[in-house]
Subunit: 252 residues, 2 copies
Amino acid sequence: MSTVTAMPVGPGGTRYKEVKEAMLAALTAQEWKGGEVIPSEKKLAERFGVSIGTLRKAIDELCAENILIRHQGLGTFVAQHRRDRHFFRFFRVARRDGDQTYPVVTLVNFKRAKCTPAVAARLNIDDGTRLFVFTNALALHEKVVVVDTVMLPETKFPGLTESMLRSRSNTLYNFYQDAFGINVTGTDERLRVAYASELESKLLEVDVGAPVLEVERVAYSLNQKPVEYRLTRINTEHYEYIANTTKASENA
Amino acid sequence: MSTVTAMPVGPGGTRYKEVKEAMLAALTAQEWKGGEVIPSEKKLAERFGVSIGTLRKAIDELCAENILIRHQGLGTFVAQHRRDRHFFRFFRVARRDGDQTYPVVTLVNFKRAKCTPAVAARLNIDDGTRLFVFTNALALHEKVVVVDTVMLPETKFPGLTESMLRSRSNTLYNFYQDAFGINVTGTDERLRVAYASELESKLLEVDVGAPVLEVERVAYSLNQKPVEYRLTRINTEHYEYIANTTKASENA
DNA sequence: AAGTGGTCTAGACCACTAC
DNA sequence: TAGTGGTCTAGACCACTTA
């Protein structure tokens, strides 16, 4: 093969990283939406002016981050949050005997409020910014064991209403993706012991002030911007939170 | 270039997976030890009878799993557990303000015991198997906030003594690696609220029965076999456990 | 200067899916 | 059969490290 000098690489880094960033930009701009197929590798290679191998390396990384999904013979798709796939990547509560089931979610309340300084810092927005705030009770094996309080900046979820939340047919993150084009790709969580509030004690059927496991979550979207703040409280009498550092990414 | 029919691929799967398994076997057999450099890509490609590209794909995955580390211009090395690198991958406690520091470890006691059924199930060994059991108090910012109780099967750690644990100069997992050739590559953890025992209450300076965060960990070695059982109890008054699902694997 | 890994290419062939 | 992604190859050139 002849010696072809590669196209010059921009100052940012390497060709495939540039391609990856360009694809992330296209995804953020909703050029391709959740569940849709993206153009073939051949076409994308032409579009970005790189060889198939380089294009594939960019897609490799996006797949490793669960942003794209490849299907041999079918094409490459924008990953979609679904109840039946990757749900337990974000819902990490299981019964102590290991049994994992889908929670039955009940919306307990829905209101608007202004952002407190602590939450503002986590969401990287101004103190006092208007938020949607709602609480879900999650039942496992017919009993409520998790209470979620979710806070969303109004500007990122324009037009969100209580009835939209009640009538959604899939997961919350699927709803964010379909209705607002917000693709949650990762979360940071901090866990600690906390004490049940009056509302929580009723829902969880524990005494007021009983110790519960608190999970403070910030969810990030495609462009690494925080989009959701969530405070989860779990009755760990019969259930527990599962974490791992196993990098169980690509196991055939 | 001429059309070269690739070597037949074994029934197990693909060429690069075969190469990866062969390298894992070599690592498990301690052909290359922690911190050592492995042969160059060119030599390994010759040894396994594949092209550089295929060999690289195998190494790519081993690097993604933190088993190998590449250094451009230097070579590829067997990842070594070190206090100054990847330490916080396994030590996930930080102060509530986010400050992460290295714990000061004190060995509180060391004994031998027989395995209980619950631990036997986690470690996938027989009930009653002999174990080393020891407890560490971990201080952060000059105060004990974490108490670890570690259980190791005697057969996997032959000759382990209390003084070896006291005189180790690096992390526990570094010690496993150097002294016993056991390379911890991942952990499964389950978190729940528990209540301080007498010993824990003294060390953590809380009341007996005070709620603490319990982390039950099983650590796995290169060949995915469980090698360590650990019960961690944390006083989360000023500290917390950090988890994330961000897949922050390869960020330049 | 020599050796290492890092990137990129151009193309072949295979496996899977849909029509 | 056509089109997709999956694997593999053989090699060029670049960037980094050590001496």
